[in-house]
């Protein structure tokens, strides 16, 4: 097992390196950031001076090598736009994004897992049909539209929650709902189909025949096995939500890393974009690793050996 983790971490380094090359290349293709940092009417000499100060006159490979050399030491350089260490800016904004993502995913799980199980247990009932409709809606509604709808109803009409910003728990509710809706629908669908599959298994029938209480059969035997695909999707969802929080953060003026990233991309803030991508990619890789490790707990038959790679 420790060998497996080390191998995975080494693989991840390769992934991160690849991501950084692609992002670096793409960013430089989009054009010169000095033009966006200076006023439109700025003279050519001011532009030249700033380019030199930012080190943009050097050949691309040299700029990349410099970036990489610093990045391995945890230094992503100064953000062009904010003139602050890129990592500091991320450290300031990442907690807000993690908070929102966790809340969105938590909300999705709390609602979706019981709903999916119930729908499976009461297959073809009214409840099942209602769940299917909810899943359809959840997956079809754009987060942008849902966000504005939530603001209109719960902030403007009912006055229950703030419309925007990050001011305590109340302000987390609406963005978490908007962000979690899509995942909620997907998780409910997975929970239902996973549960249906497991309930049809022989061991469930055997357990029932042995007279074990229905509650135990469902929650002890069936659910644990139905949880394996769920864990996969929850892990993936967390990553998707981290990246997908951009729109939710913009609508609800949530001060997270997603908004920082969008601003950084629009202003061609190379160091900041690179740092955000590196941090998010690392998080994604770690989450995937954790998911793989959770499998072994859920299904002891899964063993990570060199051949199981």
């Amino acid at each position: 097992m420790p060998g497996y983790v080390v191998r995975r971490l080494l693989q991840s380094l390769g992934v991160l390196l690849g991501v950084s090359v692609i992002v670096f290349g793409l960013l430089h293709l989009t054009g010169d950031p000095t033009r966006l940092l200076l006023p439109l009417e700025a003279r050519e000499e001011d532009v030249r001076q700033l380019r030199a100060l930012l080190g943009l006159d050097d050949p691309l490979w040299m700029q990349y090598a410099r970036f990489l050399g610093r990045a391995v030491r945890g230094d992503f350089g100064l953000s062009f736009k904010h003139q602050l260490p890129a990592l500091t800016l991320i450290v300031q904004t990442l907690p807000a994004t993690l908070e929102l993502t966790a809340a969105g995913l938590g909300l999705a799980l709390v609602v979706a897992v019981p709903a999916g199980i119930l729908a499976a247990l009461k297959r073809n009932s009214v409840l099942d049909a209602l769940c299917s409709v909810a899943v359809l809606l959840g997956q079809a509604m754009p987060v942008y539209w849902l966000g504005l709808l939530l603001i209109m109803v719960f902030a403007v009409k009912l006055g229950w929650f703030p419309a925007a910003g990050r001011d305590g728990l109340a302000s987390l509710v609406l963005p978490a709902m908007a962000l979690g809706a899509f995942s909620m629908a997907r998780i409910a669908r997975m929970a239902r189909s996973g549960m249906l599959e497991v309930l049809a298994q022989d061991y469930v029938r055997t357990a029932r025949a042995a007279g074990i209480r229905a509650f135990l059969v469902t929650y002890k035997y069936a659910l644990k096995n139905a949880a394996i695909p769920l864990v996969t999707i929850v892990g993936l969802e967390f990553g998707i939500l981290l990246g997908g929080a951009v729109i939710t953060e913009t609508i609800f003026a949530w001060p997270g890393v997603g908004r920082l990233a969008v601003d950084a991309i629009f202003s061609r803030d190379y160091p900041l974009v690179q740092a955000i991508v590196a941090v998010l990619a690392t998080l994604f890789v770690v989450i995937n690793l954790v998911v793989d490790l959770v499998y072994t707990y859920l299904d002891p038959r899964i063993v990570y050996t060199r051949s199981a790679r």
Binding site: T30, G31, P39, L54, L148, A163, A164, R166, I251, D263
Partner: protein
């Protein structure tokens, strides 16, 4: 007696209630804009939203009153000693928030800091004519300019004053995170993309500010910004689109405030590309072929004022006697025929979301040109960085939607960057116009200078380097408890807010 006691108790209770409400933020204000401040080191920015926020913390040497006239501020007076020397008297007894005195040394330090080669200030160009700053005595400085510069007073309205000792001790980075100025408000906190809080500086030289505490919140999404106003989460919001005005006016506790902006929007014709657009008659024809008033009424619901040339009435130098182009499709056809361009086809580029209803206006303009025989296709470039690149690389389409407002409100800053030969933004070249601009920007006699601008703006109108558009209307949503009217320079000053 019991009645007297009851009355007394009632009055007391009322007083307590008022005092509590007062203490609990009755005089606090929350302002929601689309973006966060870029810097709280005011010398690191040229962004208007950032400058607005910094204006609470820092003072400038001169400033503009509500009518946008230049008036004394930290400088009590200024005079021209010779064509290239301006002498400025400074207000005595002013202190920075950290107790450091404001004097001539601070003025010299602040001006020189911007020009420091390792300091990445985008304001370098604002003070490009400044040669050196001479400290005459603690209350007097002299600005020596490289060339005669009548725009110096306008430049002084942008000379924000930094605390020399504080910046030297704390360093540039810290000066940005914990700003210290002489302004009417002191910095409290900055949570990136969340809020900036300032509190009243009761020791300010203008007296105690009415607003006690102000919070600036960046709320990028328009719908959320409007909701924040409706729910009382924000007291003042910017950039309300015209079509949302009736809905907000119907809301309780909310009112709409409008002011004609310094920002002007027009359609740059790429004359330097040559071809048909190099012919003045073709450019004039484009102006006659667009019913700009009709577009303003239909798309912006009347929230815009037509331009007669390339300058808004808010800027000194504007000449109201210059007529606007008349909508006259017949005349347009005649001009095109005379130029031998009866089958002209064009592409018009526009951004999306940069200015109020920009894309819709661009489509309406293209529609009218097409209707009047000039087949025009619209190309939307949604990403602002890419849009800017087409302008700076001089690779715009035939016609490009353009907006302009600079906080100096100096007339030369409207014409030279946009129309002088070889300027980065300029898509136009004409030696006669260049000469007039150069004369006007060096003329130290105000009356003569005004005449020169009038002449210049007339030539520009006739030359038609733009399809002349409109002066934008700035629309704000305001909580009814605020006594406030907007300014025509896009600025929001906390000291102008009452209750």
């Amino acid at each position: 007696m019991p009645r007297t006691l009851t009355s007394l108790a009632t009055v007391l209770a009322l007083l307590v209630a008022v005092a509590t409400a007062w203490a609990a933020g009755e005089r606090d204000v929350t302002i929601a804009q689309g973006i966060d401040a870029e810097f709280l080191d005011v010398q690191m920015t040229n962004n208007i939203v950032t400058l607005i926020i910094n204006g609470a913390i820092y003072d400038t040497l001169l400033t503009r009153d509500k009518q946008l006239q230049i008036v004394p501020h930290l400088a009590t007076s200024y005079r021209l000693v010779s064509d290239k020397v301006w002498e400025v008297k400074l207000r005595p007894g002013v202190k920075f928030h950290n107790g450091e005195p404001f004097d001539a040394t601070a003025v010299k330090f602040s001006a020189e800091r911007i020009q420091r080669p390792d300091f990445k200030s985008p304001q370098k160009g604002w003070f490009g004519t400044l040669d050196r700053v001479e400290v005459v005595d603690p209350a007097t400085v002299r600005f020596h300019t490289k060339v005669p510069d009548p725009a110096m007073p306008a430049r002084m309205t942008l000379m924000y004053q930094m605390a020399p000792k504080y910046v030297a001790q704390a360093g540039d980075a810290q000066a940005n995170l914990k700003p210290v100025g002489t302004g009417p408000f002191k910095f409290v906190e900055w949570q990136k993309n969340e809020r900036i809080v300032v509190e009243a500086n009761d020791a300010h030289w203008t007296g105690k500010p009415t607003v006690r505490r102000a919070t600036w919140r960046p709320i990028p999404e328009l719908g959320a910004r409007i909701a924040a106003l409706q729910t009382g989460q924000a007291d003042l919001i910017v950039n309300v689109p015209p079509d949302q005005v009736p809905m907000l006016q119907a809301s309780k506790n909310v009112r709409i405030e409008k002011v004609p902006s310094c920002r002007i929007i027009s359609f740059t014709i790429a004359q330097i590309k040559g071809g048909p657009l190099a012919d003045k008659r073709v450019r004039q024809a484009l102006n006659h072929a667009v019913d700009m008033q009709g577009i303003l009424d239909a798309v912006l619901l009347g929230n815009g004022k037509r331009l007669n040339s390339w300058m808004p009435p808010n800027v000194w130098g504007y000449d109201p006697s210059i007529p606007v182009y008349e909508y006259n499709p017949q005349k347009a056809k005649e001009l095109l025929a005379a130029a031998g361009q009866s089958n002209l086809t064009l592409t018009l580029q526009a951004p999306n979301g940069r200015w109020a209803m920009d894309k819709d206006i661009a489509q309406a303009v293209a529609g009218q040109l097409t209707e009047n025989g000039i087949k025009t296709t619209v190309k939307i470039i949604g990403e602002w960085g890419a849009y800017v690149r087409t302008i700076l690389d001089h690779k715009t389409e035939d016609v490009a939607m353009s907006g302009w407002c600079l906080p100096s409100l100096e007339p030369d800053h409207w014409v030279t960057p946009n129309l002088h030969t070889g300027e980065p933004v300029s898509q136009y070249s004409n030696p006669e116009v260049d000469k007039l601009m150069e004369q006007a920007r060096a003329e130290m006699n105000q009356d003569k200078r005004k005449q020169l601008y009038s002449q210049l703006l007339r030539v520009i109108r006739d030359e038609a380097p733009y399809i002349f558009g409109y002066q934008q209307m700035d629309i704000y949503g305001v909580n009814a408890r605020l006594k406030w009217t907007p300014r025509g320079d896009e600025s929001i000053r906390l000291t102008e807010i009452g209750f």
